[in-house]
């Protein structure tokens, strides 16, 4: 029964709340759709925490996404044991990076007075959920190892069944009949993943939805710098369109 609630019903509740809530928040307070930056208040600890955390998270997110979208490619890559180890080790490394990053960020928020002034309760909820998510993910990798492989063959069909509105709860409920620790950790990982999706509109998580992805392919910004600002103070030296070298004009 609990399994059905968590893996058959929670996904839809989470997705519906995320969609409706995000649209509502965006239309109601569009300017608040961001994760209020506090770099201005504390920059040094933020740098280390944020770099480790975000690089780890981005890579893990992309890894899960690839496993979901092109599972056959993951299986083909993992065919050779050496490649399997390379993938698993680097994924575990990114997870450790995220874990260390989030711990640094939690320490920063708990010990810096300025940051506490701008924290709200949901920020602490975010930290709790993220911490559960990362630790359970590491535990899945450790106790139920070669997760990259069985994600492609078991989790991908489950997630597809969720999107096809016919969730195959049995697959998760009886994922393992012999390894209870791994089973518990997988269930925790999936549940907290859906919780994260569900609380997106109410937390700083909204910044996923407005991540400046287009920065990757946007054009360079042209910064025009007047090299000698003493000379151009005199308008006689400025003849637009002729030459950039003011001294020769």
């Amino acid at each position: 029964m609990l399994d059905f609630l968590l893996f058959g019903a929670l996904p839809y509740v989470a997705l519906a709340v995320m969609l409706i809530g995000s649209i509502y928040r965006y239309t109601k307070n569009g300017f608040q759709v961001s994760s209020l930056s506090s770099q201005f208040l504390e920059g040094r600890q933020l740098f280390f925490g944020s770099q480790f955390f975000h690089w780890g998270m981005i890579m893990l997110f992309l890894g899960h996404l690839i496993g979901f979208l092109i599972p056959s490619a993951v299986l083909a890559w993992n065919g050779d044991p050496v490649r399997l180890l390379v993938l698993e080790f680097s994924a575990f490394g990114f997870a450790l990076s995220s874990l260390i990053g989030i711990l640094l960020l939690i320490k920063r928020r708990l010990t810096t007075k300025r940051i506490q002034m701008v924290s709200n309760n949901m920020d602490y909820v975010v930290y709790a959920v993220i911490l559960v998510q990362i630790i359970s993910g590491l535990a899945v990798a450790y106790y139920g190892r070669w997760g990259s492989n069985w994600f492609a063959s078991v989790m991908t069909p489950y997630l597809r069944s969720v999107f096809a509105f016919n969730p195959n709860v049995d697959v998760i409920a009886q994922l393992s009949t012999s390894n209870e620790m791994a089973l518990l950790m997988v269930k925790t990982h999936i549940t907290s993943a859906f919780v994260i999706i569900g609380i997106i509109p109410f937390t700083r998580f909204v910044h996923f939805l407005v991540a400046p992805v287009d920065y990757i392919w946007r054009k360079y910004q042209l910064v025009i710098w007047n090299w000698n600002n003493k000379e151009i103070r005199n308008s006689r030296n400025y003849f637009p369109g002729k030459s950039r070298d003011f001294r020769n004009n």
């Binding site: 770099q51 044991p81 575990f92 990114f94």
Partner: protein, 292 residues
Amino acid sequence: MKLKLIGVSVSMALSSLSATAQDGAAVFKQTCSACHSIGKGKLVGPDLKGVNTKRSEEWIINFVKNAQAFGEKDADAKAMITEYGYPMPNQNVSDADIKAIISYIAENSPAEAVATEAAPATTASAPAAQDPALDPANASDEDILAGMNIFSGKQRLENGGVSCISCHNVNHNDLVAGGLLAKDLTKVYERMGAAGVNGILSAPPFPAMASSYKDNPLTEKEIYQLSAFFNKAASADVYSHQRAYNSNLLIYGGGGAFVVIASIIMLMFIERKRKCVKEDIYKRQIKSACSK
């Protein structure tokens, strides 16, 4: 209108009921036959011949739906689970289907259901003894090697299924540590025999495994080669080394990877930390002013 709708739904429910009832044979083949036979000896699970007279319908339904939970309440079920070493995986079949299966078993159990106890014993070895060329114990070295490559994923499965090593471990000198999600298969051949391995691989009874191989089943040849490998691995286990790194493999590897990742992040972005964003512009400004 409402009455008409109810009538339609009731008739639909009835017709679906009768459809499943007729399909006892089909459901048995799909759900049970991987591990159970009727009158042909025990495979992975017991022979179901005459089970309809031995157990009540209610008992069978409870056992099929959740053997582990039922085993905690019922002494007979518990004895059964301890005898076979593990509980039967929960089956997602309706009561009507189970009843259809029971009536199918009843129809197909010969009248002398309570036969001599020697009869099943002789038939038990029958599937393997049928054709000595197909007995994995007589497999050639090539087949054993092919089985190992299929297990580790080096040789991809013909229908594109996932390799065994993702979830299972076999202790073998030539293999990396296998998955921990599902049972260790080093001794699987001793536990289940050729018939059991064949049954599970051709129609997996575990939901996660069934879903993995639903659209890309193993071929008969692959199953034979895997059985040959399992047979060899079980007998060679005594000679293989214990892997000292086994459980901490990921910790060491992941820790190493983290050091590399952290170094890359630092090398790429430490400038942002050390310098002000506008530092280059600022320096250029000073330089051009000084060069005057």
